[in-house]
């Protein structure tokens, strides 16, 4: 009788220990499944467009605006006279094509500036163009500028037109990037 009890207890213990040894594996497998799902979702997010408000860095932008224009983000006026074309997603942040069209009387334009929020300092400022002789020819209806820029990470691209009367008209576009185009992180 004692022997039978001992055998029954031993079998129960063996069963419990086997079940216990399987538990961590099951948990790990479930976690693995979940993490692979999360990775797929994150991957989809990484490849898609980004919302402007999610990638803005006004503090960094203000450093650039202050250095170049002695102004801040609050001084910018969003305007539909500027049409900014940039990709929603760029595979290579080292080469992001940007087109700016400005339908404003050219003699009113002092300069066009291009900024981006998340490039390392001091490269939030990308370039400035002064139309000079172009603006003196009234036959040229629209000012057009094409360039290729670097983005360290997903960021807003901001085209800013400085008018002769001191206003800063602006247009924004958020661009996501696959791999950053600057050597050091922002």
């Amino acid at each position: 009788m004692k022997r039978r009890k001992f055998l029954a207890l031993s079998l129960k213990a063996l069963g419990l220990s086997l079940a216990a040894s399987q538990l961590p594996q099951l948990t790990l497998a479930q976690e693995g499944e979940a993490s692979s799902l999360a990775t797929t979702e994150e991957h989809a997010d990484l490849m898609g467009p980004v919302r402007l408000e999610d990638v803005e860095d006004i503090k960094n932008l203000n450093i650039g605006l202050k250095r170049v224009l002695q102004k801040s983000y609050e001084d910018l006026e969003v305007s539909d006279v500027i049409r900014l074309e940039a990709p929603e997603y760029a595979e290579n942040g080292d080469k992001v094509a940007v087109e700016i069209h400005v339908s404003l009387p050219l003699e009113e334009i002092k300069a066009i500036h291009l900024f981006t929020d998340r490039n390392p300092q001091p490269y939030m400022h990308v370039l400035s163009m002064t139309p000079e002789g172009l603006a003196k020819d009234p036959r040229l209806g629209e000012l057009y500028l094409l360039t290729v820029i670097r983005l360290a990470e997903a960021a807003p691209i901001r085209a800013i037109v400085e008018s002769q009367d001191g206003r800063l008209l602006a247009s924004y576009k958020a661009t996501n990037v696959g791999s950053g185009g600057c050597g050091a992180p922002a």
Binding site: E99, Y123, S128, L140, L146, T147, V148, C182
Partner: protein, 111 residues
Amino acid sequence: MNSPNILLAFNPRKAKPGEVIKVTLVVRHHMDHGLNLDIRGGFSLPDYIYDLQIYLGETLLSQFKLEGSVSSDPLLGFQMIAPDAPSSITVRYRDHAGERGEATFPLDVII
């Protein structure tokens, strides 16, 4: 003397006086922003084109102030009005290493 690293294209190649011409310009330059680590683990000195001027004949058409956020081999496109007589476009640039480049391209017009 023309710098061989400056390339320029007009579209259309020949325009009537007063017609809009799209000008696309490429300067072959590494545009080093100075944020890459060098062999000793320090940052390299920035060396990029910071000033670029475009002239129609002797008249300054446009001036560009560039930063290290402009891609290597910077590409710039703009539009202009074809002049009344054949002329030329001159591009001049300066970079941080003290290099200056200049190239002149004839601009034909259909008269």
